[in-house]
Amino acid sequence: MSTTAMNPIVRARNLSKQYGATKALDAVNFEIEAGRIVGLIGPNGAGKTTALKAILGLTDFDGELSVLGFDPRTQRAQLMEQVCFIADVAVLPRWIRVSEAVEFVAGVHPRFSREKCNAFLAHTKIAPGMRVRELSKGMIVQLHLALVMAIDAKLLVLDEPTLGLDILYRKSFYESLLSDYFDESKTIIVTTHQVEEVEHILTDLMFIRDGKIVLDATMDQVAERYAEVMVNPDKADAARALKPLNERQIFGKSIFLFDGADRSQLSQLGELHKPSIADLFVATMKGTYA
């Protein structure tokens, strides 16, 4: 994410948050531009949810934070007209009927389209008369998604949106998001532990660890910077001399992960591959729980 952007959707400068002695966010700097799908990935307790809460104006913080040009602490009402949020924790009351939920959002949200919402629900098994407590977890997420996608918001924040869903619901969640919602005027921030399912969807990747951003790059930059090489034992020492980020063993061969190493040099050692986000994550977070 370049720092020369005219009007970033989110701009954080020295963003900090302390819970007692623990620094949940430690002077974090980042910018998110419009039209991006940003993955905020980190181990449990790294500060992901705190960062999202700060962006949504749900928590106090130190430092500067601007979201869509607003200060989330003092301009939360204006901000909320342009921002939507889906978390894995169900916030829909269990007694409410689907039709009542739709009417409620239509009543409180000026940018909500009832038609869009109902059109989306028509593709699901959710009926207007059903109560939230009769819906499965997957259907509740679908209902959430329908309510949120029908709001013409500039920023969508997703906190573990597919947690606990089966594969079918997970797939259809991202499929709907990409084909019915996202366009270059919208921006999505998503946190998830299921990195493989957002791997190809993201345009930008941020790793957070112990309250600090340890990686902030576009997916193109990630592909340029990092390379994995599978090396035969006779060349393993030569590979180690190039200071790999990580080394793991498969079938008696070593797989080395390099950051910013010379590609022509690496290709002498073996075949080059693009590392998966999961491999990159494991290498970057080494020693987190140790």
Binding site: D183, I201, K274
Partner: protein, 122 residues
């Protein structure tokens, strides 16, 4: 849809190759529209920028044309142009490696023709 992308080539490139294969196989014909960027992004669960990049490659190669307000269409003559360029690419890029492998395995031309014939019969 479960799509496996290989990790040694960028995905936009693999997507471009898929469309090329579909044009060569006649699955998408000249004058046919390509599915929208949104549609492809949703179907394959990849970000729309990747899809746009693949489509732009095809436009740059004159295989696909952008019609204002309508979307992308396979150009006239796309299949012939592709056959020509893909044949050239095969001969210059894939064939030398394949030839070297055939030599390494000691396979003769007769054996290959025989294998191809028995494969066709099945």
């Amino acid at each position: 849809m479960s799509t496996v992308w290989n990790d040694s080539t960028p995905i936009y490139r693999q997507l471009r190759d898929r469309v090329v294969a579909m044009i060569l196989d006649g699955v998408i014909k000249q004058g046919d529209p390509l599915p929208s960027v949104r549609q492809v992004a949703g179907d394959f669960q990849i970000n729309p920028i990747t899809v746009s990049k693949a489509y732009q490659e095809l436009v740059d190669e004159n295989l696909v044309e952008k019609r204002r307000g309508l979307g992308m269409y396979v150009s006239d003559g796309a299949r012939d142009a592709l056959l020509k360029s893909e044949r050239e690419r095969f001969l210059s890029e894939e064939w030398p490696a394949l030839h070297a492998r055939l030599a390494r395995l000691g396979l003769s031309l007769e054996q290959l023709i025989e294998a191809a014939k028995s494969g066709e019969k099945k």
